[in-house]
């Protein structure tokens, strides 16, 4: 044994009986990031993928039956499988949503019956899993181009398709940032011994989230990304 502390991770310097804790990356939201691949899911046009998501969502809302919900979930998982989406990373990002779905399901079971519980949990999961499959197999700029094209009719209600597409991109970009913010706020509250106080956690989070929204708005304005320059896509 050497005199003095050994390098980090050297098991000889650990107190006996204590295992190293696994270091896991932070949760960055339920929608996975694009992971390149060559499956037919990857090659399918973004417009088709979005259309499928839309149709499945509508079907799940109209036909609220356990068989339909479970079939949709199985289908969604099959899509992830075919696309060979990285299992561990995707599983980890979906975990909190699974927890939420099960909680809703449990409530439905208590309030009504197991069929409603199954429909609720399975439908929610099916839609999120399918959406994750889409973001994992489509480059964001192609997704945006496709959304810009399909959002064309919105022009008649005064919404520019460009702005709509930009909003979606911003959501994808901002969710991990807000989660980071939440962790920072929690750390700060913890340092002051206030991590049990809802006010010490919520108030700074809301203020900083709004501040970030203001800064983002300034940045968008400064870069002229919201201007009516008449550029309509590829």
């Amino acid at each position: 044994m050497s005199a003095g502390p050994g390098p980090v991770g050297e098991t000889g310097s650990q107190p006996p009986g204590r295992r190293r804790r696994a270091v896991r990356p932070r949760w960055t939201g339920p929608l996975g990031l694009y992971s390149p691949g060559h499956s037919w899911v990857h090659r399918l046009g973004p417009g088709w993928k979005l259309a499928v998501l839309a149709v499945v969502s509508i079907l799940l809302t109209v036909f609220q039956r356990p068989a339909v919900a479970v079939a949709a979930l199985a289908g969604a998982l099959a899509v992830l499988g075919v696309a060979r989406v990285p299992l561990r990373a995707t599983g980890r990002s979906l975990l909190p949503v699974v927890v939420v779905a099960l909680t809703f399901g449990a409530y439905q079971w208590w309030a009504r019956d197991w069929q409603s519980a199954l429909v609720t949990s399975a439908s929610l999961l099916a839609v999120v899993v399918l959406a994750t499959g889409i973001t994992a197999t489509t480059r964001t700029d192609r997704l945006l181009d496709s959304m810009t094209r399909s959002a064309g009719p919105l022009r008649f209600v005064g919404i520019r398709p460009q702005t709509f597409a930009l909003t979606v991109a911003l959501v994808l970009r901002t969710v991990p940032a807000l989660i980071d913010l939440a962790w920072d706020v929690r750390d700060a509250a913890r340092a002051r011994g206030l991590d049990r106080s809802p006010r010490a956690l919520l108030v700074p989070f809301v203020l900083r989230a709004v501040a970030r929204a203001h800064t983002t708005a300034d940045a968008l304005t400064a870069r002229g990304l919201l201007d009516d320059d008449g550029v309509d896509g590829p």
Binding site: T28, Y34, T140, L166, L172, R173, T215, D218, A222, R223
Partner: protein, 261 residues
């Protein structure tokens, strides 16, 4: 060329706020300042008249002095309560969009400036303004990332970049549209020495006219002209060495005698 013509910014005073007090008389060089004080208002920047034609202009001042507002007046993010601000003849109020096409702006928090999930997409988004075909846009975006030595990060999540890399990417996105003027509001405040040096060197090498708001006095010393802003007034306007010296005196004076509210 950046012109301020009696540009003045004031906001409604929140209840209980005290009026801003004038700082002690100081050498104001070519910038003239005419103080005004309306009750019920808090002055963020006193009416200031100055014409900036130098290629490298630095603005230094204490936190809350008004230098960020000064910078934001140039690209029209903040509009003057009275007076005018013009960039190359375009008025920031009447021709806001045209001004913003000519003026690139870099914020101190790089994270909030990056809109798309990956660097390549973010630079490509900036390029949407120039009417290029999709293939050409992608090529130009890669070229730009190359110029900033960010090619290896083209498809990495923006969320995973370090602070310095984010700021470099923000710069790349802003310079992609080749603005005539670049305004940077404390771009290196959150960066370590290595990244600060890299960003400052990059800024020093640009063709554009640069207005650099900064706390980094070494970077300010490299400018052609330095303005010192203190408590809503431009209190010094001249060569870098004297400006920095004046600023140091001001800050040590204020450190010893805490300013009244």
């Amino acid at each position: 060329m950046i012109e301020f013509l009696a540009a003045h910014v004031a906001v409604a005073a929140p209840a209980g706020a005290a009026p801003t007090t004038a700082p002690p008389a100081a050498h104001a060089g070519a910038a003239t300042v005419t103080p005004t004080a309306l009750s019920g208002e808090v002055t963020i920047l006193e009416p200031t008249t100055v014409t900036l034609t130098e290629r490298r202009v630095a603005v230094i001042g204490a936190n809350g002095s008004g230098k960020s507002t000064f910078a934001r007046l140039i690209n029209g993010l903040v509009l003057p309560t009275s007076g005018y601000v013009r960039v190359n003849g375009l008025d920031s109020h009447d021709d806001g969009r045209a001004v913003r096409r000519q003026v690139g702006f870099v914020f101190s928090d790089a994270d909030a400036q990056l809109v798309m999930p990956t660097p390549l997409e973010d630079v490509t988004l900036s390029l949407r303004r120039l009417r290029l075909g999709r293939r050409e846009r992608a090529d130009r975006a890669r070229e730009i990332l190359d110029r900033f030595a960010l090619t290896h990060l083209a498809d990495v999540s923006v969320h995973a970049l370090s602070g310095g890399q984010k700021q470099l990417l923000a710069l790349a996105g802003v310079l992609a549209t080749e603005p005539a003027v670049l305004v940077c509001d404390e771009p290196t405040t959150l960066l370590d020495l290595r990244w600060r040096t890299r960003v400052n060197d990059l800024l020093a090498g640009l063709d554009q006219q640069l207005l650099h708001v900064t706390h980094d006095l070494e970077a300010a010393a490299r400018a052609d002209r330095v303005l010192v802003i203190d408590r809503a007034h431009v209190v010094f306007d001249g060569d870098p060495a004297s400006a920095v010296a004046h600023y140091r005196e001001l800050m040590t004076g204020q450190a010893q005698a805490p300013d009244e509210p």
